[in-house]
Symmetry: C2
Subunit: 107 residues, 2 copies
Amino acid sequence: MKVVRWDHEGQRFSAEKMQKVGLFSSPLFFLDLYCLEPGQSQKPHAHEGSDKIYLVTQGQGRFQVGSEEQPLSAGEAVMASSGELHGILNDSNNRLVVLTLMVPPPS
Amino acid sequence: MKVVRWDHEGQRFSAEKMQKVGLFSSPLFFLDLYCLEPGQSQKPHAHEGSDKIYLVTQGQGRFQVGSEEQPLSAGEAVMASSGELHGILNDSNNRLVVLTLMVPPPS
């Protein structure tokens, strides 16, 4: 059995841009850790036919789903359904880590 | 935007059996919190055509995937691919919480 670390041991940051650490994937989905230094972002975008879930595991940031924006902290989660705009901005002074699920993965 | 708590605020336990707290679902997947008191379990079983991921968020327990069994703690995760046996036993003295993804959900 392959054991994967999804806590601090699995995190990877870069001063250049948000890092995506792949945890698990199959033809049906992917599950990543998104690691954002202060000021980094995932620009709002949408996927037709795919649902996406953001679960904040560490820190806090500003999340957009559809036309709404809201601050979220560790322990909170939101879903962007197929076709809905979604994005992240780490507007805090600390690292932000987001467990991110996409079903199905982009083709 | 609907914000869901997946930390201790989202947990629910019962002395009777393991509790499944639904966080998000669609026709494509479900994402639950499995909450196990000491001694509680999810008996080994398999789903043809669905992948399942267990991510331990709190405590520790004994996990089976295929013919292997292993102790896992908070911050660790495993995947059972389509058709593979999988199960959980909370053989510890503390509560065990597991973020559980199934893609696609059972039909």
